[in-house]
Symmetry: C2
Subunit: 380 residues, 2 copies
C-alpha cells in the first residue's frame, strides 16, 4: 500500500511559522506540563538508580512503572488490573501499531466510528484492514448501525474511542455502551478501547475496560505528563499479553530513561496533581471553543463535544483551500476529510483546544469566521 | 507465525539473580557510560528548551539531533550524509523493524551471515522473509558462497554486520567487501549494513556505506551513550527515506526528551570522549576473553574475533543444558543455536564482554571450563 503523511503532520509542517491560533495540534497545554517536576524526577532517578536508567529496557516494560500504572489506573480511571497485564509501549500510537500487527491480517474487518482518528487507523490500514465506518451522533457511535454492519460484514474487531472522541468530542452514552458490549459478546468481536483523554475530564462515563475485562485498553500519559516521554500502555491479559511482550522485542522502542522518569512522576503523585489543574483548564477551553463557534460560526458544529480536545465542524467550503488562506491569517487546523474511513467530507475540519492559549480561542474563531465569510463571498 | 522469546531475553530472565560472570548481555560497560554528562545535558536542555523537550517528536527526528549525527558520522565513521538522509529511530532494533516492514514481503529472500544476530532477524521473519544463511570464516561472510546462493535463490536483500560481527566477532576482509559490493551491483541486491560496534574500535575497515552510498546504513548510540535512550538511526536517501519517515508515524516511538539529550551529548563532544576511553577498555576486554579461552578452553573459539563485544565458541555439549549448570555457578551466556538462520548447532555459545567487569573475565572462563569438564566427564 502507499504510505502517506498524516494530515496532522502535514498541517504542522505548513504551520511551522507565524501561527498565532493553533487549532491543529493535539498536544497538551504546555502551561500544565510539569516540567519542573520532571527535572526533580530526573534528579531522583539519577541519584537512586544511576546507570540503570541508561540500560536496555526489559520486555513488557519496567516493573516499577507497571506497578505505578496499575495504581494510577485504579485510582484515576477505575480500572483494576494486575501490573503483569499492563504492557508499557512507546506511546499509545506504538501500542495501536503493535496490536495491529498482532490482530490484523489482509481483509480483517475493523468497525470504528466514522470519522475517527486518522493516525491510529493508518497502521491498521498498513496491515491490510478493511475499515468499516459506523455513523455517529451526539451520543457517539450509533450502535444500531454497528449491529446492522456486523450482520452484513461479519466478524472483526471494534476499534473505538468511546470517551472524548477524536475528532468529534462526543462520548458514547450509557445505553449504547451497554449495547456495544452486548454486540461484542453476541458476535464474538474483540474491542480495542483507545482512551487518551478521559482522565482530564470530570463526570465522564467509566471506560469500557472498567466494566468488561475482555476489552483491550490502550492508554497513555502523553496528554497528562507530556508526549515527549513516549509512554503509553496496553491493558490486556492472556495470550495477547504474551504475544505483545514478544512482539515488542522486535523494536524494543520504549526508553528506559523515560520509563524511570514517568515511574517517579507517578510515584510522587505528579500525574494526579496535573490532572487536578488540567481538568479545570481543558473544560474552560472546550467551553470557550464551543461558545465561540456558536457565536461566530453558528450551525458549524457537527457534533456537540462533551470532553477531550476536539470539535468537528462543517466549514461549508473545501477545508484544504480554507487552510491555505487561514495559515496566512495565522490560523491552523486539520482538515477533516482524512479522518473519515469512508464518505470523507472535504468541507469539514477538526479544531483542537489542546495547545492554544485559552485567551486566544475566541479571537481565533472570529478570525476563522472572517476568512470563511470572505472565501464564501468570493465563491458565490 | 509464532512469536518466541529472544534467547538473549530468556537468558537475562534466567540470570536475574546471583550471576557473577555475565557473558550474556550485549549492553555496554557501565563504567564508561557518561551518566554525569547525561545529568548535565538534562540541565542544558531543560534550561534552553523548557517544555519543548516534552513535546511530540516530529517525523524523521529532531533536526538538531540529525545535524549532530551527520557531523558525528563524518568525524567518527567517515560517512558523509546530509542530515535529511539521517532518520532517527527508537534504537537500531526499531530501525531494522521499520526497514523490514518496508522492504520485506512473504517470501522475500534475505542473505545474511550464518550465524547472525537473532534479534534483528526476528522482525524480518515476522514479515515472512526467507532467510538464506551464508557461511562465514575469520574474514567474515564467504562472498563466493554468497554468489552461488544468489544464483540459486535469486534476487533479495543482503543483511550484514560487516564489522565486529554479532555473534562471531569477525570483520569482513577488504577483498570480500569489494566482492560483496560487486555482487550487490551485479545482481541488483540492496544491502542493509548493521553497524553498532565500529566506532568503539580502532583500525576497523571503513563501513560499506562510506564507500558505497547505495548501502542502507543502520547505526545506534546505544553502545556508546547507553541503550536506555533508544536512539538509533538509518542513513538512506530517496524513496526509501521518504517511506521510512512516513512509516515512523505509525508508531511515533522516538522520545523527544531523549533525542534532545543525545543531541546535547553529541554537541558537547561527549560521545567522542566516551569512545576514546571505551576503545582501550573494550580492546583489553576482548583480548582478555580470547586469551582466557585459549588457555582454559583451547580450540573452543569457532572464529577469531577482531572487534565488537562477542566471541562464538563450541561448547562440545548442549549449550542449554550447560547454561542451566552454569547459572548455578554464577555464569550466564547465550546459547548459540538460535543465532543460526539454518543448521543451528546446539553445542555453541555467544560470550559477550560488553557488561562484565574486565577483572572477572579470566575467572569466569576458568569456571566455565570447569563446568564443561565436569559435565563432559559425567556424559562419557
Amino acid at each position: 500500500m502507499r504510505l502517506s503523511w498524516s494530515p496532522v503532520e502535514l498541517v504542522s509542517r505548513l504551520a511551522r511559522r507565524g501561527i498565532t491560533y493553533n487549532f491543529a495540534s493535539g498536544a497538551p497545554d504546555v502551561t500544565v506540563l510539569p516540567i519542573d517536576e520532571v527535572r526533580r524526577s530526573f534528579e531522583n532517578v539519577y541519584e537512586k538508580y544511576g546507570t540503570l536508567i541508561l540500560a536496555y529496557p526489559g520486555a513488557g516494560g519496567l516493573k516499577e512503572l507497571r506497578i505505578e500504572l496499575a495504581k494510577y489506573l485504579s485510582r484515576v480511571l477505575g480500572i483494576r488490573a494486575s501490573w503483569r497485564d499492563i504492557i508499557v509501549t512507546a506511546g499509545a500510537q506504538h501500542a495501536i501499531k503493535l496490536l495491529s500487527q498482532l490482530m490484523i491480517r489482509r481483509g480483517t474487518v475493523i468497525y470504528t466510528e466514522n470519522p475517527t482518528f486518522v493516525e491510529t487507523v493508518a497502521p491498521m490500514r498498513f496491515q491490510g484492514a478493511r475499515l468499516i465506518g459506523v455513523p455517529m451522533d451526539d451520543e457517539g457511535m450509533i450502535t444500531q448501525e454497528l449491529e446492522s454492519l456486523v450482520r452484513k460484514h461479519g466478524p472483526g474487531i471494534i476499534y473505538t474511542i468511546p470517551n472524548c472522541h477524536n475528532p468529534t468530542g462526543v462520548s458514547l452514552s450509557r445505553d449504547r455502551r451497554k449495547h456495544l458490549l452486548e454486540i461484542a459478546e453476541k458476535y464474538n468481536l474483540k474491542i480495542i478501547e483507545d482512551d487518551p483523554y478521559t482522565s482530564l475530564y470530570l463526570n465522564t462515563q467509566p471506560s469500557l475496560k472498567s466494566v468488561n475485562d475482555d476489552v483491550i485498553y490502550v492508554g497513555t500519559l502523553s496528554k497528562v505528563l507530556g508526549p515527549g516521554f513516549r509512554i503509553g500502555f496496553v491493558v490486556v491479559g492472556g495470550a495477547l499479553r504474551n504475544n505483545l511482550e514478544k512482539l515488542e522485542q522486535h523494536d524494543f522502542a520504549s526508553s528506559t530513561l523515560t520509563q524511570y522518569l514517568v515511574y517517579d512522576l507517578l510515584r510522587r503523585g505528579v500525574a494526579e496533581r496535573v490532572i487536578d489543574e488540567a481538568r479545570g483548564l481543558y473544560s474552560r477551553k472546550l467551553g470557550e471553543l464551543v461558545d465561540s463557534l456558536n457565536h461566530y460560526l453558528p450551525g458549524s458544529l457537527m457534533f456537540n463535544p462533551s470532553c477531550g480536545f476536539y470539535a468537528f465542524i462543517s466549514t461549508k467550503i473545501n477545508a484544504w483551500h480554507l487552510l491555505r488562506k487561514c495559515t496566512k491569517a495565522g490560523i491552523a487546523f486539520v482538515p477533516g476529510d482524512k479522518f473519515y474511513v469512508s464518505d470523507g467530507r472535504l468541507d469539514t475540519a477538526r479544531l483542537s483546544i489542546g495547545s492554544i492559549r485559552i485567551d486566544l480561542i475566541r479571537d481565533g474563531i472570529r478570525t476563522l469566521s472572517n476568512v470563511i465569510r470572505t472565501m464564501s463571498t468570493n465563491i458565490t
